[in-house]
Protein backbone atom coordinates (compact mmCIF):
# COMPACT_ATOMS: atom_id res chain seq x y z
CA UNK A 1 0.00 0.00 0.00
CA UNK A 2 1.26 3.49 -0.77
CA UNK A 3 1.34 5.95 2.09
CA UNK A 4 0.05 9.44 1.22
CA UNK A 5 3.56 10.89 1.75
CA UNK A 6 4.98 8.41 -0.75
CA UNK A 7 2.38 9.12 -3.40
CA UNK A 8 3.97 11.04 -6.22
CA UNK A 9 1.23 10.30 -8.75
CA UNK A 10 -0.11 13.85 -9.07
CA UNK A 11 3.36 15.36 -9.31
CA UNK A 12 4.52 12.72 -11.78
CA UNK A 13 1.50 13.44 -13.93
CA UNK A 14 2.12 17.19 -13.82
CA UNK A 15 5.82 16.65 -14.57
CA UNK A 16 5.38 14.40 -17.59
CA UNK A 17 2.59 16.44 -19.15
CA UNK A 18 4.52 18.70 -21.48
CA UNK A 19 2.43 21.79 -22.22
CA UNK A 20 4.46 22.96 -25.23
CA UNK A 21 6.16 20.04 -26.89
CA UNK A 22 9.57 20.98 -28.25
CA UNK A 23 10.10 20.54 -31.97
CA UNK A 24 11.71 17.32 -33.14
CA UNK A 25 15.42 17.42 -33.84
CA UNK A 26 16.32 18.07 -37.44
CA UNK A 27 17.69 15.37 -39.71
CA UNK A 28 21.24 16.72 -39.63
CA UNK A 29 21.52 16.37 -35.89
CA UNK A 30 22.81 12.80 -35.89
CA UNK A 31 25.40 13.77 -38.49
CA UNK A 32 26.58 16.61 -36.24
CA UNK A 33 26.72 14.23 -33.27
CA UNK A 34 28.86 11.82 -35.24
CA UNK A 35 31.13 14.66 -36.35
CA UNK A 36 31.68 15.96 -32.81
CA UNK A 37 32.36 12.45 -31.56
CA UNK A 38 34.92 11.93 -34.32
CA UNK A 39 36.60 15.29 -33.69
CA UNK A 40 37.13 14.48 -30.03
CA UNK A 41 38.94 11.25 -30.94
CA UNK A 42 40.82 12.90 -33.80
CA UNK A 43 42.30 15.56 -31.54
CA UNK A 44 44.40 13.05 -29.61
CA UNK A 45 45.53 11.11 -32.66
CA UNK A 46 46.41 14.32 -34.53
CA UNK A 47 48.71 15.35 -31.70
CA UNK A 48 50.33 11.92 -31.60
CA UNK A 49 50.49 11.65 -35.37
CA UNK A 50 51.98 15.14 -35.64
CA UNK A 51 54.73 14.14 -33.24
CA UNK A 52 55.51 11.01 -35.21
CA UNK A 53 55.61 12.98 -38.48
CA UNK A 54 58.02 15.51 -36.98
CA UNK A 55 60.14 12.63 -35.70
CA UNK A 56 60.18 11.26 -39.26
CA UNK A 57 61.25 14.65 -40.62
CA UNK A 58 64.07 14.80 -38.07
CA UNK A 59 65.12 11.27 -39.08
CA UNK A 60 65.06 12.25 -42.74
CA UNK A 61 67.12 15.38 -41.96
CA UNK A 62 69.60 13.20 -40.04
CA UNK A 63 69.88 10.96 -43.08
CA UNK A 64 70.58 14.07 -45.17
CA UNK A 65 73.44 15.05 -42.89
CA UNK A 66 71.89 17.13 -40.07
CA UNK A 67 74.48 17.93 -37.40
CA UNK A 68 74.43 15.86 -34.23
CA UNK A 69 73.50 18.73 -31.82
CA UNK A 70 70.58 19.77 -34.04
CA UNK A 71 69.49 16.14 -34.35
CA UNK A 72 69.67 15.62 -30.58
CA UNK A 73 67.71 18.82 -29.92
CA UNK A 74 65.01 17.78 -32.42
CA UNK A 75 64.66 14.27 -31.02
CA UNK A 76 64.52 15.51 -27.43
CA UNK A 77 61.91 18.13 -28.34
CA UNK A 78 59.61 15.68 -30.16
CA UNK A 79 59.90 12.99 -27.50
CA UNK A 80 59.22 15.62 -24.85
CA UNK A 81 56.08 16.79 -26.69
CA UNK A 82 54.83 13.22 -27.25
CA UNK A 83 55.51 12.30 -23.65
CA UNK A 84 53.57 15.31 -22.39
CA UNK A 85 50.65 14.55 -24.70
CA UNK A 86 50.39 11.07 -23.20
CA UNK A 87 50.99 12.28 -19.67
CA UNK A 88 48.35 15.00 -19.84
CA UNK A 89 45.72 12.43 -20.83
CA UNK A 90 46.42 9.79 -18.25
CA UNK A 91 43.34 9.14 -16.17
CA UNK A 92 40.97 10.17 -18.98
CA UNK A 93 37.65 8.74 -17.77
CA UNK A 94 36.15 8.14 -21.21
CA UNK A 95 32.39 7.63 -21.37
CA UNK A 96 30.31 8.53 -18.38
CA UNK A 97 27.94 5.78 -17.37
CA UNK A 98 28.53 5.27 -13.67
CA UNK A 99 26.87 6.91 -10.67
CA UNK A 100 26.73 10.73 -10.37
CA UNK A 101 29.49 10.63 -7.79
CA UNK A 102 31.68 8.56 -10.09
CA UNK A 103 30.87 10.97 -12.91
CA UNK A 104 31.82 14.00 -10.86
CA UNK A 105 35.04 12.31 -9.84
CA UNK A 106 35.68 11.58 -13.51
CA UNK A 107 34.88 15.17 -14.41
CA UNK A 108 37.28 16.28 -11.73
CA UNK A 109 39.91 14.00 -13.24
CA UNK A 110 39.13 15.45 -16.68
CA UNK A 111 39.58 18.98 -15.38
CA UNK A 112 42.89 17.90 -13.86
CA UNK A 113 43.83 16.38 -17.21
CA UNK A 114 42.93 19.65 -18.93
CA UNK A 115 45.00 21.53 -16.39
CA UNK A 116 47.96 19.23 -16.98
CA UNK A 117 47.45 19.54 -20.73
CA UNK A 118 47.58 23.33 -20.46
CA UNK A 119 50.70 23.24 -18.32
CA UNK A 120 52.32 20.78 -20.71
CA UNK A 121 51.38 23.14 -23.56
CA UNK A 122 53.24 25.94 -21.80
CA UNK A 123 56.22 23.64 -21.30
CA UNK A 124 56.19 22.51 -24.93
CA UNK A 125 55.95 26.11 -26.14
CA UNK A 126 58.90 27.11 -23.98
CA UNK A 127 60.81 24.05 -25.22
CA UNK A 128 59.95 25.05 -28.79
CA UNK A 129 61.40 28.50 -28.12
CA UNK A 130 64.63 26.99 -26.83
CA UNK A 131 64.68 24.54 -29.73
CA UNK A 132 64.26 27.26 -32.33
CA UNK A 133 66.89 29.47 -30.68
CA UNK A 134 69.35 26.57 -30.65
CA UNK A 135 68.60 25.63 -34.26
CA UNK A 136 68.53 29.14 -35.72
CA UNK A 137 71.19 31.04 -33.85
CA UNK A 138 73.01 28.61 -31.60
CA UNK A 139 74.54 26.35 -34.17
CA UNK A 140 75.68 28.84 -36.77
CA UNK A 141 75.99 32.55 -37.42
CA UNK A 142 72.41 33.81 -37.87
CA UNK A 143 71.41 35.97 -40.83
CA UNK A 144 68.63 38.66 -40.77
CA UNK A 145 66.12 36.16 -42.13
CA UNK A 146 66.77 33.91 -39.13
CA UNK A 147 66.06 36.78 -36.74
CA UNK A 148 62.76 37.60 -38.45
CA UNK A 149 61.76 33.94 -38.32
CA UNK A 150 62.73 33.72 -34.69
CA UNK A 151 60.74 36.83 -33.72
CA UNK A 152 57.66 35.59 -35.60
CA UNK A 153 57.92 32.18 -34.01
CA UNK A 154 58.46 33.71 -30.57
CA UNK A 155 55.36 35.90 -30.94
CA UNK A 156 53.29 32.90 -32.04
CA UNK A 157 54.51 30.81 -29.12
CA UNK A 158 53.77 33.63 -26.68
CA UNK A 159 50.19 33.77 -27.95
CA UNK A 160 49.98 29.99 -27.53
CA UNK A 161 51.24 30.29 -23.96
CA UNK A 162 48.57 32.92 -23.29
CA UNK A 163 45.87 30.53 -24.49
CA UNK A 164 47.30 27.66 -22.47
CA UNK A 165 47.39 29.77 -19.31
CA UNK A 166 43.78 30.87 -19.85
CA UNK A 167 42.76 27.23 -20.27
CA UNK A 168 44.66 26.32 -17.11
CA UNK A 169 42.74 28.99 -15.17
CA UNK A 170 39.42 27.65 -16.48
CA UNK A 171 40.37 24.11 -15.53
CA UNK A 172 41.26 25.21 -12.02
CA UNK A 173 37.84 26.86 -11.69
CA UNK A 174 36.19 23.67 -12.96
CA UNK A 175 38.14 21.57 -10.48
CA UNK A 176 36.89 23.76 -7.64
CA UNK A 177 33.30 23.60 -8.93
CA UNK A 178 33.35 19.81 -9.31
CA UNK A 179 34.71 19.53 -5.82
CA UNK A 180 31.87 21.73 -4.56
CA UNK A 181 29.29 19.63 -6.44
CA UNK A 182 30.72 16.47 -4.89
CA UNK A 183 30.32 18.04 -1.48
CA UNK A 184 26.73 19.07 -2.35
CA UNK A 185 25.95 15.44 -3.27
CA UNK A 186 26.98 14.39 0.20
CA UNK A 187 25.37 17.30 2.00
CA UNK A 188 22.21 15.31 2.72
CA UNK A 189 24.22 12.30 3.91
CA UNK A 190 25.57 14.44 6.74
CA UNK A 191 22.02 15.07 7.95
CA UNK A 192 20.91 11.41 7.72
Amino acid sequence: MTRPDDDWTDLTQAWTETPDPEPRLDAGFIRSLRRRDRLARLNFWAEMGGGVVVLGVVGWAAYRGLSLPALATGVVFVLFALGLTLWSRRGDPGLLTETPEAVLRSALAQARTGYRWALSGVAVSLAAMVFSIVILIGLRAPDPEDWRLLIGLGAFLLICIGFYLRHARRCRRRMAAHQAALEALHAEDDRI
Binding site: D5, D6, W8, L11, T12, A14, W15, T16, E17, T18, P19, D20, P21, E22, R24, L25, F29, I30, L33, R34, R36, D37, L95, L96, T97, E98, T99, P100, E101, A102, V103, L104, A107, R170, R173, R174, A176, A177, H178, A180, A181, A184, L185, H186, A187, E188, D189, I192
Partner: protein, 171 residues
Protein backbone atom coordinates in the same frame (compact mmCIF):
# COMPACT_ATOMS: atom_id res chain seq x y z
CA UNK B 1 19.08 -1.91 -36.92
CA UNK B 2 21.98 0.57 -37.34
CA UNK B 3 23.20 3.03 -34.75
CA UNK B 4 21.42 5.95 -36.44
CA UNK B 5 18.10 4.12 -36.56
CA UNK B 6 18.48 2.95 -32.96
CA UNK B 7 19.19 6.51 -31.91
CA UNK B 8 16.24 7.91 -33.82
CA UNK B 9 13.93 5.32 -32.26
CA UNK B 10 15.37 6.11 -28.86
CA UNK B 11 14.74 9.83 -29.36
CA UNK B 12 11.19 9.19 -30.47
CA UNK B 13 10.51 7.14 -27.36
CA UNK B 14 12.60 8.83 -24.68
CA UNK B 15 13.28 12.31 -26.06
CA UNK B 16 10.69 13.80 -23.73
CA UNK B 17 12.35 12.33 -20.67
CA UNK B 18 15.76 13.62 -21.78
CA UNK B 19 14.37 17.12 -22.29
CA UNK B 20 12.71 17.08 -18.89
CA UNK B 21 15.94 15.97 -17.22
CA UNK B 22 17.70 18.90 -18.90
CA UNK B 23 14.96 21.25 -17.76
CA UNK B 24 15.42 20.15 -14.14
CA UNK B 25 19.04 21.29 -14.25
CA UNK B 26 18.84 24.44 -16.34
CA UNK B 27 16.16 27.14 -16.34
CA UNK B 28 17.64 29.35 -19.04
CA UNK B 29 16.13 28.40 -22.40
CA UNK B 30 19.29 28.71 -24.51
CA UNK B 31 21.51 26.95 -22.00
CA UNK B 32 18.90 24.24 -21.64
CA UNK B 33 19.06 23.61 -25.39
CA UNK B 34 22.85 23.33 -25.09
CA UNK B 35 22.50 20.91 -22.20
CA UNK B 36 20.02 18.83 -24.22
CA UNK B 37 22.55 18.62 -27.03
CA UNK B 38 25.27 17.62 -24.58
CA UNK B 39 23.02 14.94 -23.09
CA UNK B 40 22.17 13.60 -26.54
CA UNK B 41 25.87 13.53 -27.46
CA UNK B 42 26.62 11.61 -24.26
CA UNK B 43 23.79 9.16 -25.02
CA UNK B 44 25.03 8.79 -28.60
CA UNK B 45 28.54 7.99 -27.39
CA UNK B 46 27.37 5.65 -24.65
CA UNK B 47 24.85 3.75 -26.75
CA UNK B 48 27.29 1.13 -28.13
CA UNK B 49 28.09 0.21 -24.52
CA UNK B 50 24.51 -0.77 -23.75
CA UNK B 51 24.62 -4.55 -23.54
CA UNK B 52 21.05 -5.06 -22.41
CA UNK B 53 21.83 -5.75 -18.73
CA UNK B 54 19.47 -2.89 -17.82
CA UNK B 55 16.46 -1.60 -19.77
CA UNK B 56 17.42 1.04 -22.34
CA UNK B 57 15.34 3.68 -20.51
CA UNK B 58 17.26 2.96 -17.32
CA UNK B 59 20.57 3.18 -19.19
CA UNK B 60 19.90 6.48 -20.95
CA UNK B 61 18.43 8.05 -17.81
CA UNK B 62 21.70 7.22 -16.06
CA UNK B 63 23.79 8.75 -18.84
CA UNK B 64 21.57 11.84 -19.04
CA UNK B 65 21.56 12.34 -15.31
CA UNK B 66 25.30 12.01 -15.09
CA UNK B 67 25.83 14.47 -17.90
CA UNK B 68 23.45 16.93 -16.27
CA UNK B 69 25.20 16.77 -12.91
CA UNK B 70 28.49 17.79 -14.52
CA UNK B 71 26.61 20.67 -16.18
CA UNK B 72 25.71 21.99 -12.73
CA UNK B 73 29.35 21.96 -11.71
CA UNK B 74 30.49 23.51 -14.98
CA UNK B 75 27.95 26.32 -14.69
CA UNK B 76 29.23 26.98 -11.19
CA UNK B 77 32.75 27.20 -12.59
CA UNK B 78 31.79 29.52 -15.44
CA UNK B 79 29.14 31.83 -14.05
CA UNK B 80 26.66 33.36 -16.45
CA UNK B 81 26.87 37.07 -17.17
CA UNK B 82 23.40 37.72 -15.77
CA UNK B 83 22.60 35.91 -12.55
CA UNK B 84 19.69 33.52 -12.96
CA UNK B 85 16.74 34.01 -10.68
CA UNK B 86 15.39 30.49 -10.10
CA UNK B 87 12.07 31.95 -9.02
CA UNK B 88 11.64 33.94 -12.20
CA UNK B 89 9.12 32.62 -14.70
CA UNK B 90 10.44 30.69 -17.68
CA UNK B 91 11.16 32.77 -20.77
CA UNK B 92 9.52 30.13 -22.95
CA UNK B 93 6.54 31.37 -24.91
CA UNK B 94 3.41 30.81 -22.88
CA UNK B 95 0.36 31.11 -25.07
CA UNK B 96 -1.88 29.46 -22.47
CA UNK B 97 -0.51 30.99 -19.31
CA UNK B 98 -3.89 30.85 -17.66
CA UNK B 99 -4.13 27.11 -18.11
CA UNK B 100 -3.81 25.24 -14.86
CA UNK B 101 -1.62 22.50 -16.31
CA UNK B 102 0.86 24.97 -17.68
CA UNK B 103 1.03 26.84 -14.42
CA UNK B 104 1.53 23.71 -12.33
CA UNK B 105 4.12 22.41 -14.77
CA UNK B 106 6.09 25.66 -14.62
CA UNK B 107 5.94 25.91 -10.86
CA UNK B 108 6.92 22.27 -10.50
CA UNK B 109 9.89 22.83 -12.80
CA UNK B 110 11.03 25.78 -10.71
CA UNK B 111 10.52 23.82 -7.50
CA UNK B 112 12.56 20.88 -8.82
CA UNK B 113 15.38 23.18 -9.92
CA UNK B 114 15.38 24.83 -6.51
CA UNK B 115 15.96 21.51 -4.74
CA UNK B 116 19.51 20.85 -3.55
CA UNK B 117 21.38 18.51 -5.87
CA UNK B 118 21.23 15.59 -3.45
CA UNK B 119 17.40 15.80 -3.31
CA UNK B 120 16.86 16.83 -6.90
CA UNK B 121 18.33 13.64 -8.34
CA UNK B 122 16.06 11.11 -6.61
CA UNK B 123 13.06 13.43 -6.94
CA UNK B 124 13.59 13.87 -10.67
CA UNK B 125 13.91 10.14 -11.23
CA UNK B 126 10.76 9.50 -9.21
CA UNK B 127 8.91 12.07 -11.30
CA UNK B 128 10.09 10.16 -14.37
CA UNK B 129 8.52 7.00 -12.95
CA UNK B 130 11.55 5.17 -11.60
CA UNK B 131 11.06 3.00 -8.51
CA UNK B 132 13.14 3.70 -5.37
CA UNK B 133 15.17 0.51 -5.89
CA UNK B 134 16.02 1.57 -9.44
CA UNK B 135 16.95 5.04 -8.21
CA UNK B 136 19.24 3.54 -5.57
CA UNK B 137 20.94 1.53 -8.31
CA UNK B 138 21.18 4.51 -10.68
CA UNK B 139 22.64 6.85 -8.09
CA UNK B 140 24.75 4.27 -6.31
CA UNK B 141 23.00 4.98 -3.01
CA UNK B 142 21.62 2.89 -0.19
CA UNK B 143 17.81 2.37 -0.63
CA UNK B 144 17.23 3.80 2.86
CA UNK B 145 19.09 6.96 1.93
CA UNK B 146 16.97 7.24 -1.23
CA UNK B 147 13.81 6.81 0.81
CA UNK B 148 14.81 9.55 3.26
CA UNK B 149 15.83 11.92 0.49
CA UNK B 150 12.54 11.32 -1.33
CA UNK B 151 10.55 12.14 1.78
CA UNK B 152 12.47 15.40 2.17
CA UNK B 153 12.18 16.20 -1.52
CA UNK B 154 8.46 15.60 -1.50
CA UNK B 155 8.04 17.88 1.50
CA UNK B 156 10.12 20.58 -0.19
CA UNK B 157 8.12 20.31 -3.43
CA UNK B 158 4.83 20.37 -1.54
CA UNK B 159 5.98 23.46 0.31
CA UNK B 160 7.05 25.18 -2.90
CA UNK B 161 3.87 24.32 -4.80
CA UNK B 162 1.39 25.01 -2.05
CA UNK B 163 3.00 26.75 0.90
CA UNK B 164 -0.26 27.60 2.68
CA UNK B 165 -1.59 24.03 2.71
CA UNK B 166 1.84 22.74 3.59
CA UNK B 167 1.99 24.97 6.67
CA UNK B 168 -1.48 23.85 7.73
CA UNK B 169 -0.70 20.13 7.66
CA UNK B 170 2.67 20.55 9.31
CA UNK B 171 2.51 19.35 12.93
Amino acid sequence: MGRDQTFEALLAEHGGMLRRIASAYEADRERRRELEQEILLAVWRALPRHRGEAPLRHFIARVAHNRAVTHVAREAAEPRRQPLDEAAPSDAPTPHEAAETRDLHDRLGQAVRALPLSLRQPALLTLEGFAPAEIADLLGLNPNVVSIRLTRAKAALREALNPAVSREVRP
